[in-house]
Amino acid sequence: MTERPTTDDVVVDLRGVSKVFEGRGQKAARVEALSGIDLSVRRGEFISLIGPSGCGKSTLLRIVGDLIGVSDGTVMVNGKLAREARLAREYGMVFQAPVLFDWRTVQRNVELPLEIIGRPKEEREARAREMLALVELGDFAGHHPWQLSGGMQQRAAIARALALDPAILLMDEPFGALDEMTRERMNLELLRIWERTATTVIFVTHSIPEAVFLSTRVVVMSARPGRITKIVPVDLPHHRDVETREMERYFELVTEVRESLRGSEGEAVDLRRVAAEGLSA
């Protein structure tokens, strides 16, 4: 389904994107992860990618982030090629695991991107403290990641992702490892942060309620090969809170998304692992 707004505040523009993973070794199969993806994301939107395992949503996220290349099609981020956007550090990424460095304190973890671009010490520290205050971890700046709970670690990861004030936030099932109650709380916090920073967010999730609750639009995908089945605009009020989850319109939207997902299951292939393996060697 194509939507092509002609205004130039399109932040992410995907046209005809496909991705094929060639098989490694004699028996590993050739996997067609994505096929013919067209998607435009406007500034300030909160987009969720949802679909069954193996539908390529994490792959798509990584393509936007230039962590994987495309086999076909174009990816424009902020008017540039994805690679240039990455080199210009225009996005922040949050993974399913916090991926914080054990040997650094929480504050120094948040400072990491600022170190990489070479900012002076006082500026780094000030910015890190500002971000930690935003995610309400100010009191834990001097702790080490393994001293914090899972939810707190993810908040630190979000603070780090926001450290360079990125135009886009890419999030790969960041709350997947948390329990339901923590997850709902984190959803509220994330929305609050989003309202304050007005970042554009692309969010991958398995959870239908989460997708509907957080997003302005929900992109439903199907597997084998990965395709966009339907895009569901979420017309819930802009400011959402606990009561939103009890609104009738919310349930209608959840049902709509669920029905689009039905019949779009596919075989599970861990594309994330296939892709990431290329980078760690």
Partner: protein
């Protein structure tokens, strides 16, 4: 590590792929030998530690009978030591796994013994069992093997997936059944890791034990005597035999491991 049935490796490690992986390293090794040979033999570079490989090969061929006799003499010590040390290690490992209190007290002891140069006991063992006895060197080898095997056996027996234990208990399995069905298979990878280390240690132990006193037709004495005479080619020819023993025994353990544990993940595509 899960004890649940695991599918067979897909794009697997075949003999062919292992051999292919060795082409480059072997090439580098052979290349190094050739270069060194030219440097020492034809360009007259003083041999530092390693004489010209071609001369080592000549010595190897010329003195083959006595080298071979020495090798078999030492091999007996190594294998005996390996068997004694491993059996004792497995037994004590099982005992300490069963009685955890014993394990906690023995652990610092094991650590201390591991840091002691056991080798220093070689002269003593020689005096107890006799300089000419193969048993003294076998005992040095055995003592070196014992602790790694014991520690790893205990660790392996205890390193069981708690979920698997619960599953068996819910089926009212006895301790003996738990031992057989879960602990032993779980311990095997650890045991084989230890055995691989043990082969090297046993070889080292026997040879060094011989340095402290042994009949002249043993690998250790052969190495040291000709080194002392500065007849390094013959010394190195013996060292080649010593290395071959080490590598040969190691590969034997690997072969047994593959036979006993074909399912293990370390045989799938992965790193060294």
């Amino acid at each position: 590590m899960s004890v649940v049935a695991v599918p067979a490796p897909s794009s697997g490690v075949t003999v062919a792929s292992t051999l292919r992986g060795w082409l480059l390293p072997l090439g580098i090794f052979v290349g190094f030998l050739v270069v060194w040979d030219i440097l020492v033999r034809f360009l007259g570079l003083p041999q530092f530690i390693l004489p010209a490989p071609s001369r080592i090969a000549e010595a190897w061929v010329a003195y083959l009978p006595e080298l071979w006799a020495s090798t078999t003499y030492t091999l007996v010590e190594i294998i005996a030591g390996l068997i004694i040390g491993s059996c004792a290690g497995i037994l004590m490992g099982a005992v300490t796994a069963r009685w955890v209190g014993l394990r906690e007290s023995l652990l610092p002891f094991a650590v201390a013994v591991n840091s002691i140069p056991i080798i220093a006991f070689a002269p003593l063992l020689n005096n107890w069992f006799g300089l000419d006895s193969q048993l003294s060197k076998a005992m040095v080898a055995a003592v070196l093997c014992f602790f790694p095997v014991m520690i790893n056996t205990a660790r392996g027996l205890l390193h069981v997936d708690p979920a698997a234990l619960e599953m068996l208990r819910s089926g009212a399995a006895s301790e003996a059944q738990v031992f057989r069905m879960v602990r032993v298979p779980s311990a095997l990878p650890f045991l084989f890791t230890a055995l691989k280390v043990a082969t090297t240690l046993a070889t080292i132990g026997a040879i060094i034990g011989e340095y402290f006193g042994a009949p002249s037709l043993s690998i250790g004495q052969y190495i040291v005597r000709y080194a002392a005479f500065l007849n390094l080619e013959r010394s190195w020819a013996a060292i080649v035999f010593a290395c071959s023993i080490g590598i040969g025994l190691y590969m034997l353990v690997v072969a047994v491991e593959r036979l006993v544990m074909p399912w293990h993940s370390s045989f799938r595509v992965g790193e060294a």
